[in-house]
Amino acid sequence: MGVTMPSIRNPDLSVTIGKIKLRNPVMVSSGTFGFGEEFEDFFDLNQLGAIIPKGISLRPMKGNPPPRLFETEGGIINSIGLQNPGFQEFITNKLPFYKELKTHLIINFFGNTQKEYVELARRFDGIAGISGLEMNISCPNVKRAGIVFGVDPRMAYRLVQAVRKATTLTLIVKLSPNVTDIALMAKSAEEGGADAVSLVNTFRAMAVNIHTRKPELGNVIGGLSGPAIKPIAVRMVWEVSRAVRIPIVGMGGIMSAEDAIEFILVGALAIQIGTANLVDPKTGIKVIHGIRKYLIQNKINSIQKLIGTFR
């Protein structure tokens, strides 16, 4: 097969983050796409720009007590508690599935201490089939009285710097929106050596059942996601895009191509589909087609020419 040159009728959707060249800017975000295999019945996963499976920790985590989900207006509050089988089990039982796939695999990971983050980054570094890492810094640092890494710019900077030294893989830092100044956090990640930042993670939230007067979630507090958070996420991506030079992966309530384009216009080079995967497992594919259609309709031959063109 010959190579088709990008044109107005066949726009180029590819983008590059660090060492990863994505066929299109659409990824599926960690925690909403299981380990990928759950979606195989619904569409060809190779169409996606990248898959980010459920976050992995050094040791298995049993997660939070149920109920873990509560639906609100245009959103979901979840308190899954990062349940995952841990590094070794992931490598043995989940990673082989990706050997058959041609799309990029980006590993989301997290730790309770800086040491754990570094250890995981080092372990993932030499493994074939992994294109990059996304570090979740929205976790409490057990060594620092449980202060969340991602809300303290200095702590985040040191953490990213240490992880950077431990891996040669493309490193994306996933930012928490539960901060006063997200641009400052993004800058800390950039200075620490991140290849890109992804934002936003979920907003801390809770809901109360007025009949039982009890929390709707077993863990009381959870994280809000879904279309309800999109306008705040768009604003945050816009703020970050003015503060850093590294690529931005935008996310937060993207349900359609229109939503994705909004993020791209304010500066996101790539986007992630999260909650929408649960409602319509084919959302990622629909977003890719919609972006392509938008580019054709607007006579733009490359997505590169769309990024950050918000006026």
Partner: protein, 270 residues
Amino acid sequence: MPLQTDGMVVSNKRIKSVYYLLGIDCPQIAGQIKPGQFIMLKVSSDRSPLLRRPFSVYKSYSVSHSKKGERGCLFILYKEVGKGTQRMTTLKSGEKVGLIGPLGNGFILPPLPSSKSIVLVGGGVGIVSLFPLAEALKDRKLFVFIGGKTQFDILGLKDFKTFNSNIFVATEDGSLGAQGTVVDLFLSQGKIFRRDEEHYLYACGPVTMLKALARSNLKNFICQASLEARMGCGFGACWGCVVKTNDPKIPYQRVCKEGPVFTLKDILWE
């Protein structure tokens, strides 16, 4: 294998009080769904409610027409409880709805051949998921225990009567059948079931009912229970619908994937 598809509403009627029966033309799912499996239904085309809702299938049929091709319908007996089901009551014939299914593991059927008795215990709308099971086991010796708060919560009585089954009804207010819970009624009939034989029991209903069954220490019964949970996706991706089990390695298991049918003694009630 689950699939994502559209179905067309063929009927949506109130049966009694807050219970409705929704018929959806969807041959692809109707042709392969097994007793105890469920579907995820997008009850509105907009974002309210955002998530799909899980439903057991009450009845399903599928036929192959030489001219019309594959035809098949799913019938969902649902209770109006919240925003999602309220929205469902407004669905009209001819409307399109999104479905994902069949999902989860169904009931494990008792081995054949067997003269052993099979017990079904259903509370409220929980009886729904036991009906396809009864249909699959209609030639066996069935003992069906149906319970509810009042006579208006006793569902499927007429349908169960078409089988070769012994039916027992309990209502908490005594308005129909025995007064009390369905579990109490079942336990009071213990003498029917020989103690030197193993029996199969299938249960679906509210947590209080399943807990009461679990506490009853039914030594010569192999009990399977179909659980309900708030679900995010229904196909194993989000880990939002877990239940605590006695599995030492993975205590929180997914109702949608490892379930919804579990061995009753494996569940750790909190």
